[in-house]
């Protein structure tokens, strides 16, 4: 199927800015990562860290006042940024890369049946006839675990629960058999038992269809369960990239470590959570040094004056990628 080896998607020094009345908000600052076929990559971060903007930039969905101001996104070697990218994006978007958003309520059109909405995708992108599309819609709904698909196609979004709607959106995303699914907080609006159903579904589909998945979330628990590799974002930058096991075992960046310590675990009881004091910086005027320096218990003068880039560290015999002048020092705390 793949005529070339190498990563599916490469993001190279991506910058996204929003030009507001108050000034330029540097939402994504110099972000680089890649994803291999069939892999699950997690992007974790708090609100305002730039994780959703990054996802939107991958598919050219940044709208004014936002703009990609630097860097490149390459899908199987082809650039999705800059001149002439619209043509490539039109081909790739929906067909090869699909996206699922957080809010299943607003992502569907309330005035059409869900059957019509999925069929529309098939007819537009795959050029299917009405009858073929209808049959395929029922197959797709069955694939995403919706019972009685022949009845369900006639329903409107308001007749379905949040979990059902998210399944419909996943069915829609999978309609054109994409190679990469970008899921932006797909389970945040859902109850925990429904979240478990949806995560299970994504994992199953991935096995069955050989999909690569980029999962964007703020929930470290969700990432731990499903992701092979993880990028941790803070203040518009990736501060650490690691395999899930390495990240949770020995976080290299003080922010990753702080985030893990601040997250209560169901399986252990602590007398007190260790919080991270303060709040993230204003990206209208990002600090000259490390974005986390003001909140970091390990910060030294260099952290305030000079911004660390993501670099290769050797830790316990493993290659680790961390953007910190004091990477892994936290382990000693």
């Amino acid at each position: 199927m793949t005529e070339r080896s190498g990563p599916l998607l490469e993001v190279d020094h991506l910058r996204v800015e929003f030009f507001t009345r108050r000034g330029q908000v540097q939402a994504v600052r110099d972000v680089s990562f890649h994803i291999e076929p069939g892999e699950t990559l997690g992007i974790v971060g708090e609100s305002g860290s730039g994780k959703s903007v990054t996802a939107q930039a991958l598919l050219g969905l940044i709208e004014l006042p936002g703009k990609i101001t630097g860097g490149d996104v390459r899908w199987r070697g082809e650039s999705l940024v800059g001149e002439g990218c619209e043509k490539v994006l039109d081909r790739v978007r929906g067909n090869e890369i699909a996206m699922v958003f957080q809010d299943p309520m607003t992502s569907l059109n309330p005035t059409f049946t869900i059957g019509f909405q999925i069929a529309e995708v098939l007819r537009r992108h795959m050029g299917m006839s009405r009858g073929d599309a209808k049959r395929r819609v029922i197959e797709l709904l069955d694939l995403v675990g919706i019972a009685n698909p022949t009845q369900r196609v006639k329903q409107h979004p308001h007749e379905m629960s949040g979990g059902m709607r998210q399944r419909v959106l996943i069915a829609m995303a999978l309609a054109c058999e994409p190679q990469l699914l970008i899921a932006d907080e797909p389970t945040t609006a859902l109850d925990v038992t429904i979240q478990a159903q949806i995560l299970e579904l994504i994992a199953e589909l991935q096995q069955e269809l050989g999909l690569a998945v980029i999962l964007i979330t703020h929930d470290l628990g969700v990432v731990a369960g499903v992701c092979d590799r993880v990028c941790v974002m803070y203040a518009g930058r990736i501060v650490e990239q690691a395999t899930a096991v390495e990240l949770y075992g020995t976080p290299g960046h003080p922010y990753s470590a702080g985030l893990l310590r601040a997250t209560p675990r169901l399986d252990e009881v602590l007398p007190r959570l260790v919080s991270i004091d303060g709040a993230p910086p204003d990206l209208l005027k990002p600090p000259a040094g490390c974005g986390f320096a003001a909140r970091c218990p390990l910060a030294i003068d260099r952290c305030v004056s000079e911004s660390p880039t993501i670099t290769l560290h050797q830790h316990e015999g493993k290659d680790r990628h961390v953007a910190c002048w004091r990477a892994f020092d936290d382990v000693l705390l």
């Binding site: 708090e46 609100s47 629960s161 979990g163 059902m164 109850d191 925990v192 038992t193 429904i194 979240q195 478990a196 159903q197 995560l199 299970e200 703020h218 929930d219 470290l220 628990g221 969700v222 990432v223 731990a224 369960g225 992701c227 899930a244 096991v245 949770y248 075992g249 702080g258 985030l259 893990l260 601040a262 997250t263 209560p264 675990r265 169901l266 399986d267 009881v269 602590l270 007190r272 959570l273 260790v274 919080s275 991270i276 004091d277 709040a279 909140r295």
Partner: protein
């Protein structure tokens, strides 16, 4: 003994009220009418159905459930802000179910609410001083907010806000700081009980920990009892001494936090626990997950028998016909399931 604990012994004489629970809820039902126009029969949303529980003095009772389980309605009913169809609510030994007018107003001084959304719950046109002092003004304890300045300053300080916050407006603060303001406002009346409805759900992880710690600090400092409503079981287990699990308007299980986690006696609790992801890939990938099929039943037309029977992997004909009552299975551990003994 009933799950309402000491109430049955203290109601006859008020002498023991000081030591009894701060809140006791007994056989509480709340139903909301749904209008059926054009000759359709009137239907009811069964929001709460025969709920029994108590909150001890100085205790945090965590109330967990999915959306639509009735946890917010229960919190509101305790504060007398939901229409009670039947059953009773006692506060500090006093039956408040039918209280009205001035008596209810007096009562509300002693119970406060902390909301989920720190952006919607603070009036943007009021300064922090006015916001925090507002309950004092409303209850006639001061004539103007300005008179409470020293007290407000002190409260803000205890809630970890900078001194210059007092004359600023809500827009100048982040979500975490706004939630601190909401807590300061709730503390202004020196209440005995705070009902916290998803107080940290809208906050980011690092800020959430700050607010959870603050809630714990002021609890011991002000001698507060909490009814802590949340859907996040990890946070609830961290902050609560006991946990009540709700499902479709009924209590499925109540037990000390460790018991709930280590020895769940209701299949819904078990499924809920297994659905909560643990932030550790080594542990999480080893866990046996029980993924529940289906969704919470429609509260207008709940199923007969046990409300969980439509999704329960253990359901039998008995569950489909007979509603299991909340029974004490071991000291302090209550569950409403016909087969709870099989779970241990």
């Amino acid at each position: 003994m009933s799950p309402v604990g000491a109430h049955s012994t203290t109601s006859s004489s008020d002498a023991g009220a000081e030591h009894g629970p701060i809140v006791e809820v007994e056989s509480l039902c709340v139903r909301f009418p749904v209008k059926g126009g054009f000759g359709r029969t009137k239907k009811w949303v069964h929001a709460l159905d025969d709920v029994n529980l108590f909150v001890g003095r100085g205790e945090t009772l965590g109330l967990v459930g999915e959306s639509g389980s009735g946890k917010t309605t229960l919190g509101r009913a305790v504060l007398r802000r939901a229409p009670i169809t039947s059953g009773s609510v006692h506060f500090d030994g006093q039956d408040i179910t039918h209280l009205g007018g001035e008596q209810l107003r007096q009562l509300r001084r002693r119970m406060q609410l902390v909301f989920q959304d720190p952006y919607a719950s603070l009036n943007p046109r009021m300064t922090i001083l006015e916001l925090v002092a507002e309950p004092l003004v409303v209850h006639g304890m001061v004539r103007k907010a300005e008179e409470a300045r020293a007290d407000v300053y002190d409260l803000l300080d205890r809630c970890g806000l900078p001194g210059d916050a007092i004359d600023r407006y809500p827009h100048a603060f982040s979500g975490g700081q706004r939630q601190r303001i909401g807590i300061a406002r709730a503390l202004a009346m020196r209440p005995s009980l705070i009902v916290a409805d998803e107080p940290v759900s809208a906050l980011d992880v690092s800020v959430r920990a700050q607010v959870v710690n603050l809630l714990q600090d002021v609890q011991s400092e002000f001698g507060l009892s909490y009814l802590f409503i949340a859907h996040d079981l990890s946070v609830v287990r961290h902050i609560s001494q006991r946990i009540a699990i709700m499902y479709a308007g009924r209590i499925a299980e109540i037990a000390p936090s460790n018991e709930v986690y280590e020895r769940p006696r209701h299949p819904y609790t078990k499924a809920l626990l297994s659905a909560v992801p643990i932030p550790d890939p080594v542990v999480q990938r080893e866990r046996r997950r029980e993924v529940l099929i289906g969704e919470i039943p429609n509260p207008i037309d709940p199923p007969p028998g046990c409300r969980f029977q439509t999704r329960c992997p253990m359901a039998t004909d008995l569950c489909r016909t007979e509603n299991p009552v909340l029974e004490q299975k071991s000291p302090g551990h209550w569950a409403a399931c016909h087969y709870s003994d099989q779970l241990v």
